[in-house]
Amino acid sequence: MGMTMTQKILAAHAGLPFVEAGQLIEADLDLVLANDITGPVAIHEAGKLNKKTVFDKDKVVLVPDHFAPNKDIKSAEHCKCVREYAKEHDITNYFEVGQMGIEHALLPEKGLIVAGETCIGADSHTCTYGALGAFSTGVGSTDMGCGMVTGKAWFKVPSAIKVILTGKPSKWVSGKDCILHLIGMIGVDGALYRSLEFTGDGIANLSMDDRFTIANMAIEAGAKNGIFPVDEKTIEYMEEHSKKPYKIYEADKDAVYDEEYIIDLSKLEPTVAFPHLPENTKTVSEAGEVKIDQVVIGSCTNGRIEDLRVAAEVIKGHKVANGIRVIVIPATQAIYLKAVEEGLVQTFIEAGAVVSTPTCGPCLGGYMGILAAGERAVSTTNRNFVGRMGHVDSEVYLASPAVAAASAVTGKISQPSELGL
């Protein structure tokens, strides 16, 4: 019996020739991440360990991005806690406001994670780096704090679901539509405790930004990780962004999968997840008349440069619908600067949107776009749970940047074709 791609990476990091689903292992970590929400708790827990130093100052990453730039005094104290710890332990990869971006866009951009590595992050969307062919998973603060000191973490080796992607997506269909479609098919616990291993010739038709979006939302199907094979696009991305050596793992031909799904990308349509679960998906054509109050374009799911390009392409020459608030948040400083250079920021501002400095803010109902009772938002973020973006009686509809931008123009859930595009 062969191993899945995930199992091979885990076996190599546990120093074992072979692992199988269900086996408990201790694996060496290549990268350990926390932010300003989870970092202070992790630092507190790490402080209780007998060993007081971090395992490798180059392999710990601390990014204040959730409630930063500081939203209030308590958040400022959290950011200060992370900052001081980074200074005390001489952490190489601490990113202050001005350098920081949304962590899961920032780490690949800075070349801190590459194919074949293992990463834990005290943030559920740490699974994003599976797009690069790495094993990467979200954990809580105690796991992170212990990993930061010991350089190790325990894992139950996951079984896997194989997702075969075929075909080429049409013009306004993106990675977001693909992952929403999959979550709609298998449900928010459809991949619980398991890996989502993507494969198939359709992957070649997906950009790296699309793949990051898909891997990012593996957690919304309950998965331990989502992972893509390494191809020319992955290598090109890593060589552009990183100096780290990478290692390519491939699933064995006789690897065993619990289930198999096929998604023909050419048949996908712009998709939206209705409140209050990411599995409540409909195509935009089926959505009916849903009037909205706010649009958010950004987050670790969809705040990358391609996302902003698509949104700008849709919105260009139009005005934001009367009474709609549109908030655009480039995920990193480099993306922000590129968006300025390419004229995307000008397009957004001329249309009547605001463009913010990088922050996770509105996605988790922190700040920078909180909803009042009864309000609805179309958002390119990842969760639409009760109260996620504000009041318990507000609603979040998850969609791609193209759908979010079209909705900004019409004031209701729409797709670019409704604007004649």
Binding site: L24, I37, V41, K71, V139, T142, D143, L364, F385
Partner: protein
């Protein structure tokens, strides 16, 4: 080790945003977090809950964010054990790591109702519904995880192992 208390019952996919909304994550103090536990799906929970009470839910309990604040808030609110059909994986790890007892049991999750008095024997994995006179066998932890729980969480486990 045993737990016994009155049941607070919830459905499928109880997410970490309703267990502890992000607007309260500017604090990491257990007592402070406990004050807002379950606020968005059960605003009266914090008024009703008594030390030792038990939480019962259906599938995928604790889905969503990795915030350890969620099991911390539940534990600090006084809950002695969470029984669910399944737990989301990060919540599962977090609960073990911080020492909040959890137990997976589909039958118990379905049959036990709000207000029932339930007793759990962690050594045997048995769940007794004293109100209904029924009993269920919960999923036992693998020995490795049992050891983490017995030593009082991951931090103590690592300290003992390396001592």
């Amino acid at each position: 080790m045993k737990a016994s208390g009155i049941v607070h019952k919830y459905g499928d996919n109880v997410d970490t945003d309703v267990i502890i909304p992000a607007r309260y994550l500017n604090s990491s103090e257990p007592a402070e977090l406990a004050k807002s536990c379950m606020e968005d799906i059960d605003p009266d929970f914090v008024k009703r809950v008594k030390k030792g009470d038990i939480m019962v839910a259906n599938k995928n309990f604790g889905c969503g964010s990795s915030r350890e604040h969620a099991p911390i808030a539940i534990k600090a609110a006084g809950i002695s054990c969470v029984i669910a059909e399944t737990f989301a994986r990060i919540f599962y790890r977090n609960a073990i790591n911080i020492g909040l007892p959890i137990i997976e049991c589909k039958e118990a999750a379905k049959a036990i109702e709000a207000g029932d008095i339930v007793e759990i024997d962690f050594d045997s994995g048995m769940i007794y519904d004293r109100t209904k006179g029924t009993e269920f066998k919960g999923q036992a932890f693998p020995p490795f995880m049992q050891k983490i729980i017995e030593t009082g969480g991951l931090v103590n486990y690592i300290n003992q192992k390396e001592a």
